[in-house]
């Protein structure tokens, strides 16, 4: 009983899937209808071809009426041309619809991913999400291009052939039909055998490739440990397993093709023998025999194809289930009551009240944080790796929701702002400056239409980025390649500063670069940074002494707690945690700077 119910549940679920899939086809309903119409015409034209041979032979060639032959040949030519056009159009429309739907689905999935919360990405590996955007959607393609409509086409052709053959001579038609089950049977057996054999081949080639990949990565280890011979032996074994699996498929193919050839020869033999008898009795014409031979030939393909369609349908169902599952993931939490807050002119007052945060369960990353940052104040956060500096910054932009306490901006809880408004109040410059594929200008404006070309240039000039940009081949229109790998670390930093300055945010958040930059650029960066920080609430995870000395307030984080707060001098006098950190991280810099 329950089993039966379960089965039902699965089926209706499939039904829901199909419904959702069909929803995606709806915008292209006109194209669907025209594709089916053209397909119908193409099938009819295809079916008429043998008829031409029959009529030409019976009515004109054998009667010697050559004058009548020309019109029928001309008509034949027209049909061929029509067939050419309809086949082309039909195939193209089908592909067109399939590609458009894939395009829409890809857009929907990618768009949806953009709005999922960071929490989701911590749980789902990149590879899995990639599969959704790429191969899962691609496997739906077949359903639209060679699945649904093709079945329709196959059925038209099959029914048409059967009708015509029966009209030509029902006895002969019936006799040739006897052979068809054999063909169907052989095809299905072959399909199953070959599918299993190919599955074996695939798993074995996967083994070879995995082994090869592993050995390329670990080749040096193999060489160091004198494993070359042993590993070669193993590779040879895998290679040989693959070979023998493949030889099996060759065997099936070598059996299948001759067998179907023999079956088709049997039909030919029947037609010659029994058709001949029918001619002698006058029940069939010469042209009829020739047409019969051609129709039988046309019968084979759809029969062989039909068994394939079920597989296409099945894998498309599985793929669509995964895709829809992703689309059903809830997007980032938005607050509805955002109307009463005007975020356009935030002053930049930030307050953390008893904030507790954990990525999971009770593994607190931040414990009872209390902080107050006044508008225009410059604050540095210092602390060892893992002390919670980055997390603190993440919470401010609501990339994660806190478990306890309150965070406010300008006295208003950050939950009351829309995500877009909240985040656009802050420019965040991270260590690893992220450059998007696009021009330098686009990377500064980030697509914000309120920032015009002059402002872009001005911002770049203000942070001393113009010098290197102007030297580039197309200056501001230079296309940056993947991740901006053509620029140096220092140049990327300057570009990020220009970006921040152009957006003129209420709050600047900066994770200073730890990597070494040449002294000249280093100086440029310091000057630019000072410009950026004036009259702006700035929170900096500082790695440079010069930055630290310039800020109003230093917050020392340790194991998720605020341990010390004060100015550089005050904290040094304390001789506590900051004092030690200072010696560890900055003392050397101090030495160098004093020497210089």
């Amino acid at each position: 009983m329950s089993e039966h119910q379960e089965e039902n549940a699965v089926k209706s679920y499939d039904h829901i899937l199909m419904k959702r899939l069909i929803l995606y086809t709806r915008p292209y309903i006109t194209q669907w209808i025209s594709a089916i119409a053209v397909l119908f015409i193409a099938s009819l034209l295809q079916l008429s071809i043998p008829k031409f041979t029959q009529v030409a032979i019976d009515d004109y060639i054998r009667t010697g009426d050559l004058a009548g032959l020309t019109p029928i040949i001309s008509l034949f030519f027209l049909v061929l041309t029509g067939l050419f056009v309809t086949q082309y159009v039909q195939m193209y429309i089908m592909d067109w619809i399939g590609q458009k739907i894939m395009f829409d689905l890809r857009r929907a999935v990618f768009g949806h991913i953009q709005h999922l919360p960071l929490k989701f990405f911590n749980k789902n590996p990149v590879g899995k999400l990639m599969t959704r955007v790429t191969s899962d959607i691609e496997s739906l393609n077949e359903l639209f291009t060679s699945g649904l409509v093709a079945i329709f086409g196959d059925v038209i052709t099959l029914v048409g052939i059967v009708i015509i053959m029966f009209l030509l001579n029902w006895k002969l038609a019936l006799l040739t039909m006897f052979i068809l089950p054999a063909l169907f049977f052989v095809s299905i057996i072959f399909k199953i055998k070959v599918r299993n054999a190919f599955r074996l081949v695939r798993s074995r080639i996967a083994k070879i490739n995995a082994y090869l990949q592993e050995n390329i990565s670990g080749m040096v280890v193999s060489q160091l440990f004198n494993r070359e011979e042993k590993n070669f032996k193993k590779f040879d074994d895998l290679n040989h397993d693959h070979l023998s699996a493949f030889l099996k498929t060759i065997f099936y193919f070598a059996i299948f093709f001759p067998l179907t050839g023999f079956i088709s020869a049997m039909t030919t033999a029947i037609i010659i023998w029994y058709g001949g008898v029918q001619i002698m009795t006058g029940a069939l014409t010469f042209g009829g025999i020739v047409a019969f031979l051609q129709y039988v030939f046309m019968f084979y393909r759809p029969i062989r194809d039909l068994s394939e369609k079920y597989n296409i349908l099945q894998s498309a169902m599985a793929a669509s289930e995964r895709v829809f599952h992703l689309l059903d993931e809830p997007v980032e939490e938005e607050n509805e009551q955002t109307t009463n807050v005007d975020p356009q002119h935030a002053r930049g007052k930030i307050e953390f009240k008893n904030v507790w945060f954990a990525y999971s369960d009770e593994n607190w990353i931040l414990k009872d944080i209390n902080l107050k940052i006044n508008p225009g104040e410059n604050v540095a956060i210092v602390g060892a790796t893992g002390s919670g500096k980055t997390t603190l910054i993440n919470l401010l932009g609501r990339f994660y929701n806190i478990q306890r306490g309150d965070i406010s901006l300008d006295g208003e809880n950050i939950k009351n702002y829309s995500l877009h408004d909240l985040r656009s109040q802050m420019s965040i410059v991270l260590q690893d400056v992220f450059l998007f594929a696009g021009t330098i200008a686009e990377n500064i404006s980030l697509g914000n239409s309120k920032i015009n070309d002059d402002q872009i240039r001005e911002a770049a000039a203000n942070v001393n980025a113009s010098d290197f940009i102007n030297v580039l081949p197309q200056s501001f229109d230079t296309e940056l390649n993947e991740r901006g790998s053509t620029l140096s670390v220092g140049q990327r930093q300057l570009l990020a500063f220009a970006r921040a300055l152009a957006h003129d945010p209420a709050i600047l958040i900066l994770d200073e670069a730890t990597s070494s930059i040449d002294t000249e650029t280093e100086q440029l960066i310091q000057i630019a940074l000072n410009k950026l920080m004036t009259n702006r609430t700035s929170i900096i995870i500082a790695h440079r002494l010069s930055t630290i000395k310039n800020v109003d307030k230093i917050i020392v984080l340790h194991h998720g707690e605020v341990r010390e707060v004060g100015s550089h001098q005050e904290l040094l006098k304390l001789e506590g945690l900051y004092y030690k950190l200072y010696q560890l991280q900055f003392a050397n810099q101090d030495k160098l700077e004093n020497a210089a």
């Binding site: 082309y88 953009q114 790429t134 490739n209 160091l224 050397n588």
Partner: protein, 588 residues
């Protein structure tokens, strides 16, 4: 100039396949024989059809018809048999060639040096072993089979047709050159377009990958909408290419349908006239139809073969590119066999450059047998390079390395490495059982030996905690173990060989200080006779070494034991201070 040289090399690529084929000469010869037989039978069939149809014209009996039908079946039977053997020979040979080529490729990679693998990303080497190898196989198998088959079939058909009527033969074959040409050109365009769309698809994949792995940044910069637009652009470009591919494909199918129909039309028209004049019989016309249908597929295949050949040659060139790279480190065939090394190492003015950037400059160094050398220095200062020169993973650009007083090149490479236990910086374990991984470098290890090595490197207790203990399989589908456990397993793998020289290249970085101390203590106690080279960032690891060198920009900046280096108050002393501070911070 380049034209001619590339056409020369194309021929060379083809020639390089010949030795692989020559190995299977008898089978190939049989294959050709069966192609001949298959086609011989295949062109006889229409002659019987002709006779059968013609016999209907005159008075005939059911019995005569049955004889014709039966002989048709007989012909089909033999054709089937021959066809079976044709595939079982030629296609099978192509799989053997693939097998041989893959083995050769693997064996060649085994001879390549660490630098080769730096210059050739794994993905690239894999692509050659998969896609390119497949293309070469397609050329060797279906390529050769269809080429020979079509040629033979064409000749056979021509003979039969000409024996019936030469005028009709001319007209019947009229469409075929167009068909071969159209298929070859369109297939070529399909291949190109397909490749382009694959590239665009890769761009989509890369973009999605970067977006998803950088989703935090996207959100930080409120780039969601713009990212969608960027994705949309790529998505559109891809779809546009797929649609132009769809156009070519649709054109190809439509063309094939049209041209084969046109063939029938021409024969019907011209043949119709000939039948009406009484030049040929109605049976001859039927035979022509049958011959025509049977020639269509081989002709289409011929167009396909032209493409297979082009792709196969290009792919063979890519495979040869790798096969023609000479191994950088040549094993000296007359290398001196050494039973047991004492483990004395000497560097004499050794320099090493990587892609003409100097990494090590003029290093001179002597490590006495049974002593420990420690190397410290910043990332990129040349520590690992120095260590890699000892087992000859790299070849010095100048200078000389002596082991037990003998130049390193004069020793047998295999024997040299057999005497070295090397724990590389990046731990690499194979997806085999832990026991197999530990016994990786020795022929037949007893379980006791494996366990002893496990105990020595302090990983034994961890392993006993795994589901299948020492038989636990690692990697992809096996268990994932921590970095520290991996490192300790790698140490077991090195010490089970009981090597004369032990190299630990930052091999304890993921192991906590206490365990590290234990491992080093045991190593010192158990294996007093070996020479040790230890690279580490941790002072605690190297403090007790007999000699410590500090590398800076590829040169030895400081040298001495722990105490003398501290007195020196240089880089080493600085590093030591920092680590003390860090430790005290941890304890707060």
């Amino acid at each position: 100039m380049t034209e001619t040289s590339s056409s020369f090399s194309k021929l060379d690529q083809l020639k390089s396949i010949i030795p692989y084929l020559a190995k299977y000469k008898p089978k190939l010869f049989l294959g050709f024989l069966f192609i001949l037989l298959t086609n011989l039978v295949a062109v006889i069939q229409p002659i019987f059809i002709k006779k059968a149809v013609d016999s209907l014209e005159t008075v005939t009996s059911e019995k005569a018809l049955a004889v014709y039908a039966l002989s048709l079946l007989g012909i089909a039977f033999f054709e089937g048999i021959f066809l079976y053997f044709m595939r079982q020979t030629i296609i099978v040979v192509s799989r053997y060639v693939e097998y041989d080529l893959r083995n050769d490729y693997f064996a060649h990679l085994q001879k390549m040096s660490i630098q080769f693998f730096h210059n050739h990303p794994t993905g690239d080497l894999m692509a050659r072993a998969t896609n390119d190898l497949n293309a070469v196989r397609a050329l060797v198998g279906p390529g050769i089979m269809y080429f020979v088959n079509t040629t033979v079939r064409l000749i056979g058909t021509l003979i039969v047709m000409l024996s019936i009527n030469s005028v009709l033969t001319f007209f019947a074959l009229l469409t075929f050159p167009i068909m071969v040409f159209a298929v070859a050109i369109l297939m070529r365009r399909i291949h190109d377009s397909f490749k382009r769309s694959q590239e665009l698809y890769a761009e989509i994949t890369t973009h999605a990958q970067e977006n998803i792995s950088g989703i935090r940044i996207v959100k930080v910069y409120i780039q969601e909408e713009l990212e969608k637009q960027r994705f949309e652009k790529l998505n559109k470009k891809y779809v546009a290419e797929r649609l132009s591919l769809a156009k070519i494909r649709a054109l190809l199918w439509a063309c094939m349908g049209f041209l084969s129909g046109l063939g029938v039309l021409i024969v019907l028209w011209v043949g119709g006239h000939l039948v009406a004049n009484g030049t040929i019989s109605i049976g001859s016309l039927t035979a022509f139809f049958t011959l025509l249908t049977h020639l269509t597929w081989p002709m289409i295949a011929l167009g396909w073969v032209i493409n297979l050949t082009q792709q196969g040659i290009a792919s063979m060139a890519r495979i040869n590119e790798i096969l023609h790279i000479e191994p950088e480190i040549e094993a000296n065939p007359n290398g001196k066999m050494i039973d047991s090394l004492r483990g004395e190492i000497e560097f004499r003015n050794v320099s090493f450059s990587y892609n003409s950037v100097p990494v090590l400059k003029n290093i001179s160094l002597k490590i006495k047998s049974g002593t420990t050398l420690a190397i410290v220095g910043r990332t990129g200062s040349g520590k690992s390079t120095l260590a890699n020169l000892i087992p000859r993973l790299l070849q010095p650009s100048s200078g000389e390395i002596l082991i037990d007083g003998l130049p390193i090149e004069t020793l047998s490479l295999a024997e040299l490495r057999r005497n070295i236990g090397h724990v590389p910086q990046e731990t690499f374990l194979f997806s085999e059982s832990i026991a197999e991984n530990i016994a990786f470098g020795i022929g037949d290890a007893k379980p006791e030996d494996v366990e002893k090595a496990g105990k020595l490197s302090q990983v034994h207790k961890d392993i006993l905690g795994f589901p299948q203990k020492y038989e636990t399989v690692l990697g992809e589908r096996g268990i994932n173990i921590s970095g520290g456990q991996k490192q300790r397993t790698a140490i077991s793998r090195a010490i089970i060989r009981n090597p004369a020289i032990l190299i630990l290249d930052d091999a304890l970085s993921a192991v906590d200080t206490y365990t590290e101390e234990e491992i080093l203590k045991r190593l010192r106690r158990e294996l007093t006779k070996r020479t040790n080279v230890i690279i580490s960032h941790r002072i605690s690891t190297i403090r007790d070494a007999d000699n410590i060198i500090v590398l800076e920009n590829g040169e030895i900046a400081e040298q001495g034991d722990h105490n003398s280096l501290l007195e020196n108050d240089g880089l080493y002393a600085n590093l030591y201070q920092m680590q003390l501070l860090e430790e005290s911070l941890e304890e707060l």
